[in-house]
């Protein structure tokens, strides 16, 4: 038979490594406005092409075109722009805080701000979000005080996890924000379970679940899709394909053979692949999926096609594994610059207002940081009495924990 012989193992890899000149011309990027927008009650099979294309609304001149243009007013768009800028300023500040030794760890979402910001504004404020560590924009968009978020990072008295969780593992029940897990992907089936429960309780709230391209290799991703499909769970399932999982290119997670959005098709779920750096497109796809979920047409998988501009975390050094200027050459640009251009083109924004806005968000972040740092940073504590570590293991403390706590309390010179 043709091609038969000894077998060869395929090893996927990154297209570009340090020293290479990245060239993204191999990406098939359909023009803005090309994708049709099916009605929200369309059967999954009728949405098939959306999983292989790319929903885009902003053309190269910043003009919104096509059926997916959500038709948002200038005020709404400026709000989105400001939130994205605030998230970026927050990230910059906390990244520096790590370099200054005020926290051992931080993770930025630079380049991906549109994804979580636009979706949050497309949801209702009481819809429930099960995010990863890269959707801090959800919390910012929902108005979480920045000093509270910083307090979590500094593990000081503002930290709602009482010094128990890693920096950036926020939790905010009152803002419809669950938390993050150290073990990847676990939030994805949890989002589906929350959504199923919401349906079971005849509630009106839906859930939004998040995962990365890399983590979508975990079983949790696939199991979540099975349950979501079987029970038509009212959930928006988001996969953020930012091209990288630490040092592993998205091809290592299976992005070479097909799109991540197309995973949905086998489960009978619509898969929508969207330009993740196009604020309007993300908003429109999210709104479509949310309406679908809320009207009992079940789940949607959205693949947000974007780029992780920053290192994976403060512990990472991408110079070891990717070309330094990939982000500059990324053909889908910067979500903040693209939304700004759109607003300027529409006559609703200009450079002066933009610079003033950037100064204002930086000032907001600096003021919040001053308030947070007044309560201490990591390392100059303890901000939490070690005896409190025995609390909350159970609702009621059993004898063996009481015994260990009392032993600790009795130690001479115990630090408090």
């Amino acid at each position: 038979m043709d091609g038969e012989g000894t077998l060869r193992l395929h090893i996927p890899g990154a297209r570009f490594r340090p020293g290479d000149r990245p060239d993204f011309s191999y990406l098939r990027l359909p023009p803005a406005g090309a994708a049709p927008r099916p009605p929200v009650d369309a059967p999954a099979i009728a949405t098939r092409d959306l999983a292989f294309g790319l929903v885009r609304t902003l053309d190269d001149d910043g003009v919104a075109v096509g059926e997916w243009n959500p038709g948002l007013g200038a005020d709404e768009l400026v709000r989105g722009l400001r939130t994205m800028a605030l998230v970026r300023a927050f990230d910059e500040r906390m990244f520096r805080a790590q370099r200054q030794g005020k926290t051992p760890f931080y993770m930025k979402c630079t380049g991906e701000e549109a994804v979580a910001t636009a979706q949050t504004y497309a949801l209702r404020p009481d819809d429930m979000c099960f995010a990863t560590y890269r959707q801090q924009a959800i919390l910012v968009a929902r108005g979480t005080p920045l000093d509270e978020m910083m307090g979590q990072i500094y593990a000081n008295a503002l930290d709602p996890t009482k010094g128990r969780q890693l920096p950036v593992m926020y939790t905010a029940k009152s803002r419809g924000y669950f938390s993050q897990s150290g073990n990847l992907a676990t939030q994805f089936p949890q989002a589906v379970g929350w959504a199923m429960a919401s349906a079971y309780r005849r509630d009106t709230r839906i859930a939004s679940g998040w995962i990365g391209d890399g983590a979508s290799a975990e079983g949790d991703f696939h199991q979540a899709l099975v349950f979501a499909s079987v029970h038509r769970a009212p959930v928006v399932l988001n996969l953020v394909n930012n091209q990288w999982a630490i040092s592993s290119a998205q091809s290592v997670a299976g992005g070479e053979e097909s799109t991540f959005a197309s995973r949905a098709i086998g489960y009978g779920i619509p898969g929508v692949r969207v330009d993740g750096n196009d604020y309007l497109a993300v908003f429109a796809a999210s709104r479509w999926a949310a309406e679908r979920a809320r009207s009992n047409h079940g789940p949607t998988l959205i693949e947000h096609f974007t780029y992780r501009a920053a290192p994976h975390s403060t512990s990472d050094d991408p110079a070891r594994y990717r070309a330094g200027d990939e982000w500059e050459r990324w053909p889908l640009g910067d979500p903040i610059a693209r939304l700004k251009l759109h607003l300027v083109r529409a006559g609703a924004w200009d450079d002066g207002r933009h610079s003033a806005m950037l100064r204002a968000v930086e000032a907001d972040v600096a003021e919040a940081d001053a308030r947070a740092q007044a309560l201490g940073v990591h390392g100059d504590g303890p901000h939490h009495d070690p005896l409190t570590m025995f609390d909350d293991v159970y609702k009621d403390m059993p004898w063996n924990l009481r015994e260990q706590r009392d032993e600790l309390a009795a130690l001479p010179g115990r630090a408090t």
Binding site: L9, I11, G13, A14, R17, P104, F105, A155, T161, G163, R164, Q165, L166, M169, S181, G182, N183, L184, A185, G214, A215, A217, E218, G219, A245, I246, S247, S248, V252, A253, G254, R320, Y321, H378, G379, G381, P382, H383, H384, P386, T388, M389, F390, V393, N400, L401, Q404, L408, A415
Partner: protein
């Protein structure tokens, strides 16, 4: 002629063992998340991908269960996978393939197959990893018939035990304490093995026996130095291999010292300490005890993040000193 000896870091010693095994035997390969160009979450695999290529140092998709299953499948063909998990906490995801498959296949299939698999995993707290990046799950694996469980303390042992683990025809779980990666010690060049069934007496002493593995063995040695200045001579036994456990060495020591303290980082109850204490209580050495056996284990809580809390959650040198003092002075 004996091989020249150099000072080597714990992580380098592991890398050297991997390189020796891969150079000698084409069947050996390394797999795991970010083990290739990145060099591994803790920089253990380092430059192995440059030396052996991407098909022998394989970056896997992020699926611990998938990786473990693939490793079992490859091992069934006679290949010798060394599968790295980024943190031992993620082994919970791989449990089915390790516990229900790798550990039992030889037995269930009437001895007709081998699963020569090594799973390496960083263990323990001390780096601010919090509840899901700091656990000590050694006892879980040590409870499973069919698995061998190794936890080295020195760079010398890390290299020799890993080579023995790769040689071994059965699945071996290889725990590496994160706080040891940067420690250094003498390591001979070239191949040597440390057998997978023998404890090491790291310090001789007459007044009490301390059994501790991994970073806890280091802490026990530091404690022994302090105790010696007070006239208490502790014998420190490092099991090195938790399953099968070399109880004969522990029992011989206890017969001489008549006092036993067991130190480990995992939660105190149902842990390594319970096994060692029970084995002594069941045996001849029990009659030689002059005091109750003491266990010093981790708090019965998840590991908290904040440094002061994290420190209080696991035994520290001063805790070992205090417990040994009580034991030696008959106050226990």
């Amino acid at each position: 002629m004996t091989a020249p000896i150099r000072e080597l870091g714990f992580a380098e010693a592991i890398r050297e063992a991997l390189a020796i095994a891969m150079a000698e035997d084409e069947r050996v390969f390394v797999m795991g998340e970010d083990v290739g160009v990145y060099g591994g979450a803790f920089q253990v695999t380092g430059d192995l991908v440059q030396r052996f290529g991407e098909d022998r140092v394989v970056d896997t998709p992020i699926s611990e269960l998938g990786g473990a299953g693939v490793a079992v499948g490859a091992a069934l063909t006679g290949l010798k996978p060394v599968f790295e998990l980024q943190f031992s906490d993620f082994s919970t995801l791989a449990m089915e393939q390790i516990v229900n498959q790798a550990a039992k296949l030889r037995y269930m299939l009437g001895g007709s197959v081998s699963v020569p698999l090594v799973v390496r995993m960083p263990t323990g707290s001390g780096l601010g990893g919090a509840a899901q990046h700091s656990q000590s799950l050694e006892a879980w694996f040590a409870h499973v018939p069919g698995l061998k469980v190794v936890e080295p303390t020195t760079p010398y042992d890390a290299k020799g035990l890993l080579l023995a683990a790769i040689d071994d025809p059965d699945p071996v779980i290889f725990f590496e304490h994160k706080l040891l990666y940067k420690t250094k010690g003498p390591v001979p060049e070239g191949r040597y093995v440390v057998p997978l069934d023998r404890a090491e007496t790291r310090r001789a002493g007459r007044d009490l026996t301390i059994v501790a593995a991994g970073v806890m063995a280091q802490k026990a040695l530091d404690a022994a130095t302090i105790l010696a200045s007070e006239g208490i001579e502790a014998e420190v036994i490092d099991p090195r291999v938790l399953r099968p456990l070399d109880m004969a060495t522990v029992a011989r020591s206890v017969t001489r010292t008549s006092r036993l303290l067991i130190v480990y980082e995992g939660a105190k109850s149902f842990g390594i300490g319970a096994e060692i204490a029970a084995a002594i209580a069941e045996g001849e050495a029990f009659g030689h005890l002059d005091a109750p056996i003491l266990r010093l284990g981790g708090a019965e809580t998840p590991i908290p993040y904040s440094p002061a809390l994290e420190r209080a959650a696991v035994p520290q040198v001063e805790d070992i000193v205090a417990a040994a003092r009580r034991l030696a002075r008959g106050e226990a």
